[in-house]
Subunit: 195 residues, 2 copies
DNA sequence: ACCTGAACACCGTTCAAGT
DNA sequence: ACCTGAACACCGTTCAAGT
C-alpha cells in the first residue's frame, strides 16, 4: 500500500540530447494527435528532424512514446480537476465541466481519446495506473459533493466513472457529428432518479 | 434515391471452393472474435487449413474479410430488431432489449464491437452504410413507439442512436468489469425529463 | 478454376559505425 | 554520450507454379 510517487530518474542529458528530446515530443504530439496509433515512427523522426534511432534512444518503443504523451494529458486533466474542486462552488457544474474538459481535449487528440477509451474501459492496471487512480480519487470527491447536494442519482459511485469516460471518449474519438449532444444525454442521465 | 438491395453476384463455385470459403469464414469468425483487428491472415489460413492465397482468393483484403463478418452481425441484429417490432408489445422493453442484444453479442466478438464503435461513431458512410441505415430505420420505429408511449424523453431522436451505440460498444469492447451497469445508466438516462 | 506458399512491401525496431 | 540510417523482423498482400 505504498503511496510513493513514481520514481523519476532525471539523468543529466547532454544539451543536444535535451533539445532532441523536446523536438521528438513536439513532433510526436502532432503526429499522435492527428493519427492516433496509426502515427509512424519514421514520420515522427522526420517531423522532428532527427534519425529514427534518436527517437528510439529517448523512447524504447512507439507504445512508450504514446504513453509519455498520454501521461502529459493525465497531468493536465488531474490539475484541471483539482482547480474544479478548489474553485467551482457548484457541485453539478464541477462534474459537468470535468466531463466537458475531457471531451474537448480529446476532440483535438486522437491518441488521448483512444487511451482514455481503452484505459478507462479495460482494467485500470497498466502503465498509467497511478494517474488513473489519482484522477478517480478526485472524481470521487466531485461525486461525493454532488451526491451530498442531491444533484445526481444517489446510487452513482466512482466505480461508474471509468465506463462513462470510456463511453464519452469513444464518441468523441469516433468523430460523431456532435459529441456535445451525447454529453448532454450522458449528463442528464446522471440526475436523480426517478425522473 | 434507389431502394434496390445490394446486388449479390453468386458465381457458381467449384465444390472445393465452396468448402474452403466456409472454412475460411469459420476460422475468421473465431480469430476476429478473439483478437479483433489484431487477427492475422496467416493465422486465419492456418485455422482454416488452407494457404493464405486461398483466403485472399475469397476476400481481397483483411479489411474485406472483417467486413463480411460484420455484415453477418448486422443481418442478425436487423432480424432481431424486426422481431422486437413484431413481438414485443412493451415499447420500453423493446428498446431495452435492443441495446441489450447488441451488447451481449459484442461481449463475445471484439471485431463486432469495434465495428459498431467506429461505424456508429464516425460518419455513417462506408461499406456497411446500407445496413446501418436499415438498422437506424428500425430504431426509428422503436423510438417513435417509445416516445408516443411517453416512456422516453421526448427530445430523443434516431440521430442520437449512433452515439449511444458507439458508447455502449466501446464500453463492452473495453472489457469493463460490468457493462450491464453502464447499460442501466444509459437506459435510465433515456427516460423522460425532468427526473 | 482453384490452390499453394515463397517472395515482396511496409513499418516497428536494432545496432554498427560515426561524431 | 549521443546520433544516424541501413538492416532486420513481422505481417499484409501478390503471383508464378502446381493440381
Amino acid at each position: 500500500m505504498s503511496t510513493a510517487e513514481p520514481t523519476i530518474v532525471t539523468k543529466r542529458l547532454r544539451a543536444d540530447a535535451v533539445r532532441n528530446r523536446a523536438k521528438v515530443l513536439d513532433a510526436a504530439r502532432a503526429a499522435f494527435a492527428e493519427r492516433g496509433a496509426e502515427a509512424q515512427m519514421e514520420d515522427v523522426a522526420r517531423r522532428a528532424g532527427v534519425g529514427v534511432g534518436t527517437v528510439y534512444r529517448h523512447f524504447p518503443t512507439k507504445q512508450a512514446l504514446g504513453e509519455a504523451l498520454v501521461e502529459e494529458r493525465f497531468d493536465g486533466t488531474i490539475a484541471f480537476v483539482r482547480t474544479l474542486l478548489d474553485d467551482e462552488p457548484d457541485p453539478w457544474r464541477a462534474l459537468e465541466r470535468c466531463f466537458e474538459h475531457c471531451a474537448a481535449t480529446q476532440a483535438n487528440d486522437r491518441a488521448w481519446a483512444a487511451a482514455l477509451a481503452s484505459m478507462a474501459g479495460g482494467t485500470i492496471a497498466g502503465p498509467r495506473e497511478h494517474q488513473m487512480r489519482e484522477l478517480l480519487a478526485l472524481e470521487d470527491r466531485l461525486l461525493a459533493r454532488a451526491r451530498a447536494a442531491g444533484v445526481v442519482r444517489d446510487d452513482l459511485v466512482v466505480a461508474d466513472m471509468p465506463a462513462l469516460f470510456c463511453a464519452l471518449a469513444s464518441v468523441v474519438q469516433a468523430g460523431v457529428v456532435d459529441w456535445r449532444r451525447y454529453l448532454e444525454l450522458l449528463l442528464d442521465g446522471l440526475r436523480p432518479l426517478p425522473r
